[in-house]
Amino acid sequence: MRLASFGTAVDSTKPLNFTFDGMACQGLAGDTVASALLAAGVRVVGRSFKYHRPRGIWGHGSEEPNAIFDVSCGIDREPNARGTTTQLSEGLRVRSVNASPNASRDTYGLFDAFARFIPAGFYYKTFMWPDWQRFEPRIRAMAGLGCIDKVWSPKSFSRQVNSTCDVLVVGAGRSGLAAASRAAKDGKSVMIVDEGIEPGGTLLYRSRLIEGVSASDWLCETLIELERRDVRMLSRATAYGVYDHNLVCVSELKGGFAPPDLWRIRTSEIVIATGAIERPLVFPNNDRPGVMSAASALFYLRRYGVRVGERVVIASNNDSTGEIANAFRDAEAKVIEVAAVKDVKGRHGIEAVIDSEGRSIAADALLVSGGFTPTVHLYCQNKGRLRWSESHAAFLPGKPVEGMRVVGSAAGDFGWTVSAAWAAKPGKTRAWIDFQNDVTLKDLAQAARENYRSVEHVKRYTTLGMATDQGKTSNLNGLVAMAALTGRSIAETGTTTYRPPYTPTSLMAFTGVRHGELFNPVRRLALEPEHRAAGAVFREYGGWLRPAAYGSDIQAEALRARETVGIFDGSPLGKIDVIGPDAGALLDFNSYGTISTLRPGRLRYGFMLQETGIVYDDGVIARVDEYRFVVSCSSSHVQGVYQRLEEWRQDQFDPSRVYIHNATPRWATLTVTGPRSRQLLKELDLGLDIGLAELPHMAFVLGSFEGGPARVARVSFSGDLSFEVSVPLSKAVLLFHAMRRASTPLGGILLGLEAMMILRAEKGYIVIGKDTDGLTMPHDLGHTGPRDKRTDEFVGRRALFTDWAMGRDRRQLVGLAVAEGEAALPTGSHGIERVNGKLRSVGYVTSSYFSPTLRRPIALGLIERGAARQGDTVKFQYLGREREATIVAPCFIDPEGTRLHV
């Protein structure tokens, strides 16, 4: 019921309409969903997770275990919103979770009657046979909170803000504000983050004198003072995690359904002023709607003018409730204070409280205070160790952690005296420890009987503290009970580990702008618009968005390139400059083949190995002059090759004598391939000193194009006569159009990557990582020269001479042919053989295509002892089906290489 005096948080002139489980209700501007429901007299706000017990609002902050709702407005939806931290707005639809049709009439409510058949570990023990999957869907439908919004369509995304300050204060209660004020006066830059809707913490509803003035006056003056000193204050902002080197992450809730902002704040000192959370008392039926945190009841009374009952019983183990009793008496409620509670009557709301003498006291609210649990999560996340204090009945921060200070109630400075009497052994009627996950004292007793000792194990077995509230109200009562049940001290029993986040945090906060295209940004070609205009279908290859094909007929595309000329965008190919007097020596060390013997103007193909001897990459290296080389590695290995060159440069060489520069992003490369490629290039003005006919295979020449430099290399990945023309990015469009103009009369086409893959496979040219795997060494690919002849040191050399590297049964690159009229082998098919009746793999198909040139399927594979087994038939298996293929040389067209020299 709302009192005529209203409260300090609401605006009585601004009513807001909302619905709860379809029922029309009215609240006020400033209300939370919880305060509005209490004002509207709603007692049952939801059903418990396991037993579907009716539950009411317990607290008033992020510790709330019961008041979890699905809230929506128009198409906006927020599942599992805590009613205590969700602000009311006009037209809000609030639905209870885990209840159907609604919170007060729930069809699964009868579960509670069968509770003794659903003890701790019930699911683990019961649904093992024949398998959990059979039972899971039905159990999921009955248990669990909220549902996923399947038409998720966010209007905005989280902002992510990086910030720094000298002192970050977490919590804007009395101690936090005092600490912030002191630090600001010392000239430090200070930030305060606070979970509350308004700063003040308990000052907002407790009446105390501070430095001789009332709490509200002190708060008002301090806030003005802090603002004057430029102290930044974030409200509704939860510091949910502390990470290495004093990085604090904060989720700041925004209005309405906007996702929270994420703050990453790096600070020299963290002041933990997070206060303490009031604990329930453990007695039979202590989860009934109407049983509530005493401090929260005062909060609702003073802040929202909501009196949660008119016949109020207060049970407490400390002296914090005297003020609450008086406040309720002032609000004309009948108040009875009792020493202890034996039981509670009333299923959907309290009707009577049975006190320790067995007297029945008619009541509609039972306010309890079972002591205070300091909020030490951030201290513990920062490797702080707690110590048990009997006099506080709480775990308190122990030794200080560097760069962090814990103050106020969080450090045990409650201002109240607690004399805890812990719950006795479980009786006949269940007493709740964890409201949200439905864990009772009986469940803990059972876990103890089954010899669970470690609190971490008890937590997982009984699910104590594993709900979305992470046991903020229940953990201590649970472990105290466990200590008693196992005959150990509370200190010996210890706490579970505190991990971020402190409260459930929207995944939107972590995502920020990294969604859709920005989730994993692709690298784009300078010529993308030109390719699109030409009808290219794009696909991602090694992080680059590249034309896969121009149209739907890849076979025709490949065939045209064999017959006339194709233009292929090879811009992502690496172009790493290695410069200096020791450039040749570095490349020798880095490469499998010797590079320093290359003559200027020439190209050499070769491998780079890992130190394990495994092939890392292949590529073509060009020598520009005595001191300058260009390494053209695979497009997806550019960063890796650059980094390993840099590493060896600094580790094995004099860095002043060799320098590495990754020029890949600055150049565009267009490849022309096919018998008419030379004719095409003749139409372009490339400013070459020599005629193209005089440029030998595996050589290059420098020229100019449209006023910029150009590099023309005669090198082939298709098996046909082929030239790579590289120009600065700024000339790419001009080069593209010039090539297209020249190619049309020659019958040329644009060539996508898929058709290029067919051409190279016909020729038996490999792709590293496709036709090789993590076991492939260069000699498995037929390249034995450097291993046998080089006498100098190079990366991976020693590994080529291990027993394993020189073993007989290595998988080697082969070609695979199928019988006339058969379809292509599926890539990934395993070659099989039977040894003593058992199947084993002898290798697999790495590349497989229908060859448009040969009009039959071709395939490459890695097969045991393949090089020596040409002509052998191997059985292949794919999805249970067996087929045969014949091992052939890994080159299907033009083994003599005449097409390279037309």
Binding site: D244, H245, L247, R266, T612, Q643, E646, Q650, D651
Partner: protein, 87 residues
């Protein structure tokens, strides 16, 4: 998120760095025994507590020595490996 000090660039987020090797580790050669080579490739000291390691700052590309505590994540110091850079 740790803050690591690059001797050339100052304090930066750990995402800008990559581990290189444990300090003092010698590269094997063609004349290494099988054991020596396997040690070089696969075996790390992985000390708990004080460590000396080579790291690289990917932003500037420089390899440097980093002394840190693998338990507490405390960074003690970092410095250049080569004399001429130490000035």
């Amino acid at each position: 998120m740790q803050l690591i000090s690059c001797p050339f660039c100052g304090l930066r987020d750990e995402t800008e760095f990559r581990f290189g090797a444990e300090a003092g580790k010698r590269r094997g050669t063609a004349s290494s025994s099988a054991e020596e080579w396997a040690n070089y490739l696969y075996f790390q000291g992985n000390p708990k507590g004080q460590t000396r390691e080579i790291w690289v700052h990917l932003a500037c590309g420089e390899f440097f020595m980093l002394e840190r505590d693998s338990m507490t994540h405390e960074i003690h110091q970092s410095y250049c490996i080569r004399k001429e850079d130490q000035k």
